[in-house]
Amino acid sequence: MRIASAWQAMDQQPLRFLATGWPWRSLGYLVSGAALGTVVVGAFAIPASGLVLGGPVTAVATAVLLVAGVLAVGPWLAALERWRLRLVDDEPLRPPPDPPGRATGRWRSGRAWRETGFAALSVTGLAGLDACVLGFAVVVPVVLFASPVDDPATWPLVIIGVLVLAAGPWTVAAWAGARATLTRTVLGPRGAELGAGLADVAAIRERLLGAFETERARIERDLHDGAQQRLVALGVSLGLARLDAGEDTALAARLDDARDQVSAALTELRDLVRGLDPRMLADHGLAAAVDDQARRCPIPVTVDLRLPERLPPHVASAAYFVLTEALTNVSRHSAATTATVSGRWHADQVVLDVRDDGRGGADPAAGSGLAGLAERVALVDGRLRLSSPDGGPTLVHVEIPCRFA
């Protein structure tokens, strides 16, 4: 695996990490960070003395100048931070694209404020922490090594010094990685700034979801107007033929049998169509629709949904589909005697669990509909996890991101 950052190097090959350039690059990152902080803070500290040394007019003028100075150098320092990031992260951090229009666009979009704020944090607090880490990893061992020179009795401190120095490369790289991650998070593109590429993915997803809904509605209509009507009509023809066949004849028995089969086919078809047509969901909301499905299940199902009243439609639709399919799987394959459905909303996620006490051994590869479920969940950026050891129980766990704008 290609290693692209100090953190990755430390994580993937903790020992070989020492022989690579990453510890030195991390050290360079922290040293340059502390130095940059010192220079910038120093440069601002000299004029800032006007705040306390002069009269009120001088103080106000100095304050105004300082603010203007910070605003002027903020974005420039941010660009420097992006460039400096290359020391500990091979993946370049591209600046967000400039908003179209006037030069003030950067400030209005919030990007320049973010950059200035981060630059201020970087040259003060973060640079201070750089210095502290460097002090702990490098200066402390040196001081400890030097102590027996003055007082030979303090020689055990040398051991501690050795240990601290040995841990140095990891200490330095750990903080460098954290600082780099923070830089990437704050200074990288976000949301709409992510650019055309990701917007395309979102558009394709929208189209896919739209196509999915349209296709589902079409199939539902076709089944309703086509196969279902024909089957009912066939049932009527069979029923009339049964009347003509008289009682207790071989033909009557066959017709009864045929009618039972038509009934079974109709029931199956009706369940299928209902799964395709969540009118209940649209009319009465997720909780009522799931409750309805649970009651159709041949085994007792406990439903415990504590979700916001109005979920975004694509989330509600995916959740309904998942719960319906999971319950169908429970009744078809699990041989369970009870099942539980629970739903919670926290940390911007809808979390759904379907548990049963069946025989387990559910395998997504075996075509039990679980693969389709996972795909449906993935379409709304969610994920599905399955625990189904042989002998049971089975748990289908689904997380769907859900933010309220």
Binding site: V232, V236, G239
Partner: protein, 216 residues
């Protein structure tokens, strides 16, 4: 007694099937129509003994048939109407029940395949009775889970059949019980659910339904 029945159903195949079925049982179909406005016109023209209509029909392809049925019942609460639906939608059944006492039915379309049972249901509605699909009844019963829990399994079955609009004799036939046994179960149900014991025939169905629906 032969009935004059107006059939409203947009599928040609089903329309022919229903007409043939009614014909087989000696009823006549003066008009078989394919959409809701045609149904309203045909009823005004023909003054039928029974209206048999699908829920989903043109022009809206949603619940046009049901809305036409409710409208017909609102102008003439005594007009017997039997609605056929592809799915059980309790709200639709309740909307129909709310249009007046009796002479109303709501069945899943699949039930038509049981031609004898379906013809009997149609005749019961035309005679002023109430016919409810077993699935609707089950949903109503489930909604009142707690008090219904006091009933024995056999009494539950009897309650279901009563709510569907069946008579004691029919219940006895369905459950393979003697009339006396059915009478005993019916009395037990009425006592346990605290229903008026003197209600018989159609008033009994209404009492049971009213009790089930009051549980919301």
């Amino acid at each position: 007694m032969p009935l004059r029945v107006i059939v409203a159903e947009d599928s040609v195949l089903m329309r022919a099937g229903l007409t043939g079925l009614l014909d087989r049982f000696g009823h006549t179909v003066p008009a078989a129509v394919g959409d809701a406005p045609a149904l309203l016109g045909a009823v005004r023209r023909e003054r039928p003994d029974l209206v048999l209509t699908d829920v989903r029909m043109p022009p809206g392809h949603t619940d046009d048939g049901l809305r036409a049925a409710v409208e017909l019942r609102r102008t003439d609460p005594a007009l017997p109407v039997l609605v056929l639906s592809q799915f059980v939608e309790p709200a639709a059944a309740e909307a129909l029940l709310d249009t007046g006492d009796g002479a109303v039915g709501y069945l899943l379309k699949d039930r038509v395949a049981d031609v004898g049972g379906f013809a009997a249901a149609a005749e019961r509605v035309a005679a002023g009775g109430t016919v409810l699909d077993p699935e609707v009844v089950q949903r109503l019963v489930r909604r009142r889970r707690d008090p219904v829990g006091r009933l024995s399994p056999r009494e539950r079955e009897v309650l279901d059949l009563m709510a569907q609009g069946r008579s004691n004799t029919e219940i006895a036939g369905t459950l393979v019980l003697s009339d006396a046994a059915v009478n005993k179960h019916v009395r037990a149900v009425f006592t346990k659910l605290d229903l008026p014991a003197d209600a018989t025939g159609h008033r009994r169905v209404l009492a049971v339904l009213a009790w089930l629906r009051s549980g919301r």
